[in-house]
């Protein structure tokens, strides 16, 4: 009942924040968000699952609940089915941590309609917890879509000058993607001829029992599985995002206010990779293995092209936004490798990137709060005036580049170690793909160091007429918290990787590697 309690607390908190006066809404929302945070950390400490939630038997899933939701005679059944395994538990903790910190980081920049803002953020937290814990497709889909709606308003109402365009673009892209994905999954279930949409049941039917979805006359099971795989891949690729469907991301990020960018990059992008892992790479593992070379190619293109795009930007936020495209490429590469370290590393990278990109967006936000510009060319020498922010920003950038003893290093090391020898899935050229992806890090270092050097160091100058002073404590405190977590996971990756490894252990086998 823990998961239900977390969702309920967030929903009640969302209603309370929505109705509260603007002055108190921020403090109230932070207070409320501490409850799911403490709850999820408690769950983390009590976590006792073993194996993958979709493939293991239900006793091995933590915080498991399954009751009938809707039943239509013998025709089909929908269950309220939630539970956590080693893949979803770290992502759930990431969600609660980032939401609380994002709320604090919103205190300075969000200066109008606060109660609505915090209400939407808490509503989104409830939906995100649901996305990562749902094990029935319908439950999952309801939460998945419920995330999009608050995000649309968060960008559209509190965003920058082109907020309306960015919000609509985000909404249209992700909704079309959802529709394609939804149709794909429904076709798969109808093809299988089972009476349930349950993710665990469908995964076990497909992977463990080897059932063939052959209910459509004239469509072979293999063709249907391939079509469903690509429909769902297209749906999730928009969310991740994978090149070439990434174009909504920089617009959304640049226009979104800082705390929303933090959640968008930190948690919402992980919905896409998490769903890819659950659906495409677990349920339809044989198709994924068959097209591994193609997917690995897409991953490498995302890494290199995303990094090149970041290199070309002048806006600090755009740089960080494009770097997410690049980092998500590593996740895809790790998943495609179908080795324990590859898939585990991809999951670890989701968590690590969530923390680091959150850190980077917050740091950019803190700088923007004082300077009111994000253009690299508009400022230089901020290190003198904002030494603490500068230090954390630098540390975050090094985390991005994969400095050892930070979580970015552990994540990328796992992914590369897993992908380098993945000749069984990716093919003979696995080392080449991996080497190309590794080259991405060089570009990352290039654009981050270049941007740092120009904005933070050198003689002080600023194009905008604002007094540059030290940021208030509540702006900087979340940065410290995130940096602490990044270093913690870098020094002791086992804190998360142990349970991740346990949960992804069965996946290489289903991919045939």
């Amino acid at each position: 009942m823990m998961i239900e309690a977390l969702i309920a607390v967030c929903l009640v908190g969302a209603a309370a924040a929505f109705l509260a006066p603007d002055r108190y809404a921020g403090r109230l929302a932070f207070g409320v968000s501490l409850l799911p945070l403490i709850g999820s950390l408690f769950m983390y400490s009590q976590f006792d699952a073993s194996g993958n939630a979709l493939l293991a038997s239900s006793e091995n899933v933590a915080f498991y609940t399954r009751t009938t939701w809707i039943e239509v005679g013998e025709l089909f059944r929908l269950d309220w089915h939630v539970g956590l395994d080693g893949i979803s538990m770290p992502l759930l903790a990431l969600t609660t941590i980032l939401t609380s910190l994002a709320i604090v980081s919103a205190w300075t920049p969000i200066d109008e309609r606060q109660s609505q803002f915090y209400g939407l953020v808490l509503f989104m937290e409830a939906a995100l917890i649901g996305v990562f814990s749902a094990l029935d497709f319908f439950v999952w889909f309801v939460f998945w879509e419920a995330v999009l709606i608050p995000m649309y308003f968060l960008i559209g109402v509190w965003g920058g000058p082109r907020r309306k365009y960015a919000a609509i673009k985000f909404f249209v892209y992700t909704n079309i993607a959802s529709l394609v994905m939804f149709i794909g999954y429904v076709a798969l279930v109808i093809g299988l001829g089972v009476d349930t949409f349950d993710m665990a049941d469908v995964a076990q039917a497909l992977v463990v029992d080897g059932a063939a979805p052959s209910a459509f006359p004239g469509v072979s099971a293999g063709a249907l599985k391939t079509a469903v795989f690509f429909a769902m891949f297209a749906g999730f690729a928009v969310k991740v995002p994978v090149v070439p469907v990434h174009t909504w991301l920089p617009d959304a990020h640049v226009e979104a206010p800082t705390p929303v960018s933090v959640l968008l990059a930190g948690v919402l992008l992980k919905m896409g990779t998490y769903a890819l892992l659950r659906f495409n790479f677990t349920m339809l593992a044989d198709v994924a293995a068959e097209f591994a070379w193609l997917l690995a190619g897409l991953a490498v293109v995302s890494v290199i092209y995303g990094a090149m795009l970041a290199l070309a930007q002048q806006d600090l936020k755009r740089i960080v936004a494009y770097s997410s495209v690049s980092s998500m490429g590593y996740v895809i590469l790790g998943l495609v490798a179908y080795t324990v370290y590859g898939v585990g590393g991809a999951t670890f990278q989701m968590v690590s990137h969530g923390l680091i990109s959150g850190l980077m967006f917050m740091a950019v936000g803190v700088i923007y709060n004082t300077t009111h510009t994000r253009m690299v060319t508009d400022m230089s020498g901020l290190a003198d005036r904002m030494p603490i922010t500068t230090g954390i920003f630098l540390a975050g950038a090094f985390g991005y580049m994969g400095l050892p003893l930070m979580s970015g290093f552990a994540a990328e090391f796992y992914v590369f170690a897993g992908a380098f020898g993945a000749t069984e899935s990716i093919g003979t050229f696995a080392p080449v793909f991996t080497a190309l992806a590794m080259f991405g890090i060089v570009i990352v270092a290039g654009y981050l160091l270049f941007a740092m050097q120009r904005t933070l160091f050198g003689p002080f100058s600023l194009e905008t007429d604002y007094e540059v002073t030290r940021a208030p404590f509540h702006d900087v405190a979340p940065l410290f918290a995130l940096l602490g977590l990044v270093i913690l996971l870098g020094v002791a990756p086992e804190i998360a990787f142990e349970m991740i490894r346990d949960a992804v252990g069965a996946i290489p086998a289903v991919g045939g590697a």
Partner: protein, 510 residues
């Protein structure tokens, strides 16, 4: 099946929901006529709302204890399936389900009207007419013969004409009332003529007797088929489907907004329940060979209605007209309930049950949306999308409720609107008519455009300087919030409703 004599008290027990509505209507008239010079507005409103809620409560209780389920009445007295007045009325699960929809909508509309009508003359007449129309709609749900069907239809229609023209100093309202009346009279005539042709062919008026005659055949199929087509026309008018949909945008736009809500939700549901019963029971699928393949007619109508309603809604600038065309589009979705039936289809009960579910959910989300428009009219916000700009900054709670309605109408999964639409399309696919579901899915994706346009205006656009909200009317707020809560809550508590609807459909098809 229990044939109940007219002297049997059970007759009146099972008719309690309808009798409560009539009683409340009469009481409202009576209270209003006690003193001709003054109107005890609160007492009239209170009586009407109490009567409607009592009818709703009794209906839900009846559904819960199993009234309308085939089988002999047990010692509790009011259980089992009831045929009343020599087979002119039937109280089965489907009838009770639709009485529940009609009374829910009526209750919401009456609660909202409390503020909307403030300061208007003739409040007593307003409440009585709404209750009488609701009586007619409830009777349509129970009609088991063309005689009662036609009388019930007229009982529902005549008060509606007056209600649409209720704002008699408002040109739009009067014009809408006249149009609604003229088209209503025309389509009633068509419906009646269709009934007479069917009567000529089969010699019967009761639905189950007609079914027997149709199965036997031996009549002029041409005349019979024309009769069936004319009946389709009459019902298309009541459900605001193509080809008799064009009154809907005019009437909904001109009518007082609570009446638009009432007509577009309750009246549509009543039209559909009659259509379900007429076509499934009187012209059974098993013997379409002796008449006309009406599933094909409904397939064409469903596609045209879905496409036309949604495309027309997408180009509107006036919010109320947009909702009116969206209401036409939703009639198209509900038509899938008849269009996707197949001879010997294994999932016919699921198809028909899903259409009932959609009408139930639609009853709340669409009523809520129109009542929000009533709230906006109360605030004198204006009628175009631009007039709603920034409304959420002034009235966040009401705007949130409206956003819930809009996204549910579009079928996003934040409420029961998603699940009922999914069931509807899913059932069509399982029954083999996948292309209907495809048209439905595409038009419903399009509908997100115009629904989200209003959500965008309310939340994202900046308010005009003169946007003022001076009052927070209790009745309108209560009705809008109640509708929003039910719309969302039905997503969680969908199971009992699903089983009732699918069972009701199964019983009707059996």
């Amino acid at each position: 099946m229990a044939e109940v004599a007219i002297s049997d008290p059970d007759t009146y027990k099972v008719l309690a929901p309808v009798l409560l509505l009539v009683g409340a209507a009469m009481l409202a008239f009576l209270i209003d006529s006690v003193d001709a010079d003054s109107t005890n507005y609160r007492l009239i409103a209170g009586t009407s709302i109490a009567g409607t809620l009592a009818a709703l409560g009794v209906t839900i209780w009846y559904i819960a204890i199993g009234v309308g389920v085939a089988g002999d009445p047990n010692e509790a007295g009011v259980q089992g399936l009831f045929e009343l007045f020599g087979g002119s009325l039937i109280v089965d699960q489907m009838a009770l389900l639709f009485v529940a929809i009609v009374t829910s909508v009526t209750a919401l509309v009456l609660v909202a009207s409390y503020d909307y009508l403030e300061g208007q003359p003739h409040a007593g007449e307003f409440y009585s007419l709404v209750l009488l129309a609701a009586t007619g709609m409830s009777t349509m749900a129970m009609a088991d013969s063309f005689v009662t069907a036609f009388i019930a239809l007229e009982l529902a229609s005549l008060p509606s004409f007056a209600l649409v023209a209720f704002l008699k100093d408002n040109r739009g309202s009067v014009e809408a009332g006249l149009k609604y009346f003229l088209i209503g009279a025309l389509s009633s005539a068509i419906f009646l003529y269709g009934i007479s042709l069917v009567y000529v062919s089969t010699g019967r008026l009761g639905f189950s007797e007609i079914a027997t005659s149709v199965a036997e055949g031996g009549f002029d199929q041409g005349i019979f088929a024309i009769g069936v087509l004319m009946i389709v026309g009459g019902l298309a008018y009541k459900t605001a489907s193509v080809p008799f949909h064009f009154w809907a945008p005019e009437a909904y736009e001109g009518a007082p907004a609570p009446i638009s809500a009432f007509l577009s939700s309750a009246s549509k549901a009543a039209g559909f329940v009659l259509a379900f019963r007429v076509f499934v029971e009187a012209f059974p699928i098993a013997s379409v060979a002796n008449g006309i393949e009406w599933m094909l007619v409904f397939q064409v109508l469903a596609v045209v209605t879905m496409v036309l309603g949604n495309f027309a809604a997408a180009v509107q600038e006036n919010v109320k007209r947009m909702l009116a065309y969206s209401s036409v589009g939703h009639a198209g979705y509900a038509l899938i309930g008849l269009a996707a039936l197949t001879g010997g289809g294994a999932y016919n009960d699921f198809v028909l049950g899903s259409a009932m579910l959609h009408l139930l959910v639609y009853g709340f989300m669409n009523t809520g949306a129109f009542l929000f428009i009533a709230l906006a009219e109360h605030w004198e916000v204006g009628r175009t999308f631009e007039d709603f700009n920034g409304l959420a900054t002034k009235a966040p709670v009401a705007s949130l409720a409206m956003t819930v309605f809009l996204f549910n109408l579009a079928g996003l999964p934040i409420g029961a609107g998603f699940i009922s639409k999914y069931f509807l399309f899913g059932s069509a696919v399982t029954n083999g008519i996948w292309w209907l579901a495809a048209v439905g899915a595409i038009t419903s994706a399009l509908s997100l455009y115009y629904y989200s346009r209003l959500a965008k205006a309310m939340w994202i656009e900046d308010p005009a300087d003169d946007l003022r909200i001076e009052s927070q009317p209790v009745g309108l707020y209560t009705a809008v919030i109640a509708a929003a809560v039910v719309t969302v809550a039905l997503l969680v508590a969908f199971n009992p409703v699903v089983s009732t609807a699918v069972d009701a459909a199964g019983a009707l098809l059996a």
